[in-house]
């Protein structure tokens, strides 16, 4: 039975239900309980934004605070995954990948192939990403394209509470390493979420709005920006189809191409930087596979190729918005 809960509650519920179902699921990360070794309350934080709050109280030492040593604990999560556990490690901000990337891209991602198909590494790394909290250059990036580049990793970017729960449960049950991106501005978003556990398969994009004139391919927080723009454009008689990728690895190229074949126009909306990005990747895909369907050049709407700024006015300028997207749509429609 579905009821409305937040994205944050959906993540927490997915973790709790999977921990209850499978005792090999453990959660580790910085302050995922909070209070370890201190004199006050245990389970004090549940992570800096309280996402895992309450899990320690339910599952005790299967919820493990870690030292602030991402190399060690992300690596330990990877090692434990090869040895019978299903660890869910929290990398507080994806920007911190700089101090543990080896454990993900040289270790977890490679084991299966490099060991001749005999390794299974069912690890999930949950991580916060995205601009919008005035957190500046080292706590605000959208680095999913870097992980998407690496064969052996699966990359998940849910946009709604429903997707967050179903994709996280799928991530935990999946036997390959998964990095699960949670946009920090989506945590308070409410949506219908079934009480029961459920999964959403990877590699199935979600057409969140059907339309006939322009395909907007997007992901994560930007799905909502796309809908805002599409609503505005519909009153001008421009019909937008919105494709939420849901997972960038695997990527549902069929749905992208099918949609562009129907609309003949593509705008890719991505909060990340433009170079070597999901936006450029999707654009290249469509150029190669559906060029004959295109009635206009592809447009990419992305953040600029700069670090995320701190000052509020600059950060607001940095994040792609509905106005920019509308402009791009009008351009491909020849109505600018």
């Amino acid at each position: 039975m579905a009821r409305k809960i937040t994205y944050q509650q959906a993540v927490n519920e997915a973790l709790a239900q999977e921990m209850a179902r499978d005792e090999t699921v453990i959660v580790m990360g910085e302050d995922v309980a909070g209070g370890s070794g201190a004199d006050g309350e245990m389970d004090a934080w549940g992570g800096p934004l309280g996402i895992t709050k309450g899990l320690y109280s339910q599952f005790g030492d299967r919820v493990m605070d870690t030292p602030i040593t991402e190399s060690a604990f992300i690596g330990a999560a990877v090692g434990a995954a090869t040895a019978g556990l299903r660890p869910v490690a929290e990398l507080m901000f994806v920007d911190f990948m700089g101090v543990c990337f080896d454990q993900m891209f040289n270790q977890a991602a490679k084991f299966r192939y490099m060991f001749g198909g005999k390794a299974e590494t069912p690890v999930v790394v949950r991580t916060m990403y995205g601009a919008g909290l005035r957190a500046a250059a080292q706590h605000s990036q959208c680095l999913y394209s870097i992980f998407t580049h690496i064969p052996g990793l699966k990359v998940v970017t849910p946009s709604t509470p429903y997707d967050a729960k179903g994709l996280l449960i799928q991530s935990i049950r999946d036997n390959d390493p998964v990095i699960f991106f949670e946009h920090k501005t989506l945590y308070t978003l409410e949506g219908d979420v079934p009480e029961e556990a459920y999964t959403i398969p990877f590699g199935e994009a979600n057409v969140t709005r059907e339309g006939s004139d322009v395909t907007i391919v997007t992901l994560g927080r930007m799905v909502h920006v796309a809908h805002e723009a599409a609503d505005a454009l519909s009153s001008d008689g421009i019909s937008c189809e919105v494709v939420d990728l849901r997972t960038t690895s695997p990527m549902d190229t069929d749905t992208i191409i099918e949609s562009v074949e129907n609309t003949g126009r593509l705008v890719v909306l991505d909060e990340s930087h433009p170079r070597c990005s999901i936006a450029s990747d999707v654009s290249a895909l469509v150029s190669q596979e559906a060029f004959d369907s295109l009635k206009a050049p592809i447009r990419m709407v992305t953040a600029p190729h700069v670090p995320v700024p701190f000052a509020d006015n600059l950060e607001d300028l940095y994040i792609p918005d509905a106005a920019q997207l509308q402009q791009a749509v009008r351009t491909v429609m020849g109505k600018d």
């Binding site: 039975m1 579905a2 009821r3 429903y162 179903g166 219908d192 079934p194 029961e196 556990a197 459920y198 999964t199 959403i200 398969p201 199935e204 979600n206 057409v207 059907e210 069929d254």
Partner: protein, 371 residues
């Protein structure tokens, strides 16, 4: 004057419908309209269907324009007698529009409207509409849920209480289906009636739900005031086993869509949202196992295990079998050669989901049968 002016409004099809888009007018201004006539096609995010007139008159105004998206209850058109004055009609429309309040955003969602009852340790979710009289119970088929009755439930509830339940393993009901066979599911229906204090009901079952209703009517004759089975199981061995297996196995939209399209005579009715809703249901833990159990018990090897055809003549209360002639799941030939006590209505060109695609006719037939 205004009593001679009548409205056609945006219907509410199912609990989650908030608005609909006018796809096409099927009648022109000036056309004479009778109850049941299809006036326009409306698309919602879940389903497309025709809006049928419930009253007669001349279509005097097409208030809603094609392509316009309007809330439930919004004015679509106006019927009036030929002698009604244009000025009165304009005034009527102005007054309606001034007073129209669209339903609040979250006025009623499924969790708020449906109720749960414990039936032998299983939570069974159901929706009750209407009140009084001998109640009707609507029993959906394999892989369906109470929303399969979205075009029937309100209409039938105009005159009496109408219950639609989610069978075990379906909708938001418990996922435990036990043996999953027709007998066990009929026992759940029996228990459902007992739990709600319903001594006797008009049983209306679709597909597997038809077999379940028939089984209950045979085992507990006093419980059935009448029996209507639609595209029903239990009347012959043939069934599209490929549909059942494919429906269970499909995990993705592309895989599921061709199977669901078989249910309808018009595959255009299978919207993306309809498929998404089915996928969301199928992805819930326990559903696949429940469907597999039911399938294995109900149609092992792709043919029906329980055939009650020889006993349907024993039923003393009114019995009706409705079929779409083009049913691709359970063949309409099962409607042939039934005993004389069974009223048989085969609708030309219709498919398995005839209660959705020819809702008003089905509703009329049921109303007629149960009086």
């Amino acid at each position: 004057m205004s009593e001679s002016i009548r409205t056609i409004c945006m219907p509410k099809w199912g609990l989650s419908m908030k608005e609909g888009t006018v796809a096409a007018w099927l009648m022109d201004e000036g056309d004479e309209i009778s109850p049941g006539d299809e006036v326009m096609d409306v698309e919602t995010e879940k389903i497309s269907s025709a809006v049928e007139a419930s009253e007669s008159g001349i279509l005097r105004r097409q208030v809603a324009a094609e392509g316009e998206t309007l809330s439930v209850g919004a004015l679509l058109g106006v019927l009036a007698d030929g002698d009604a004055q244009d000025g009165d009609i304009d005034a009527f429309i102005a007054e309606f529009q001034a007073n129209y309040v669209p339903p609040a955003e979250d006025e009623e969602d499924e969790s708020a409207a449906t109720e749960t009852v414990d039936v032998g340790g299983r939570n069974i979710r159901y929706l009750l509409r209407g009140e009084g009289g001998v109640p009707v119970i609507l029993v959906h088929g394999f892989g369906g849920d109470l929303n399969n009755w979205l075009f029937n439930h309100e209409a039938l509830a105009a005159k009496r209480a109408v219950y639609a339940l989610n069978l075990p393993g379906h909708g938001a009901s418990a996922k435990d289906v036990g043996a999953g066979d027709v007998a066990e599911l009929a026992a759940v229906l029996d228990g459902f009636m007992a739990a709600l204090g319903i001594d006797q009901a008009h049983l209306v079952g679709h597909s597997l739900g038809g077999a379940i209703s028939l089984q209950l009517a045979l085992e507990q004759p006093a419980k059935a005031a009448s029996l209507t089975v639609i595209g029903s199981a239990g009347l012959g061995s043939e069934i599209d086993g490929g549909f059942l297996a494919g429906f269970i196995a499909a995990e993705r939209r592309k895989d599921l869509k061709p199977h669901v399209e078989k249910l309808f005579s018009d595959p255009g009715l299978v919207t993306r949202q309809l498929i998404n809703d089915l996928l969301a249901f199928k992805r819930i833990d326990g559903v696949r196992a429940a469907l597999e159990t039911i399938n294995a018990a109900f149609a092992p090897g792709g043919s029906q295990a329980v055939i009650l055809r020889d006993r349907i003549g024993d039923i003393a209360v009114p019995v009706m079998a409705i079929w779409g002639s083009g049913d691709r799941i359970v063949p309409a030939s099962h409607a042939e050669g039934l005993p004389d006590n069974v009223r048989v209505e085969v609708m030309a060109g219709q498919g398995h989901m005839v209660q959705m695609e020819a809702a008003s006719e089905v509703n009329r037939l049921i109303d007629e049968l149960i009086g």
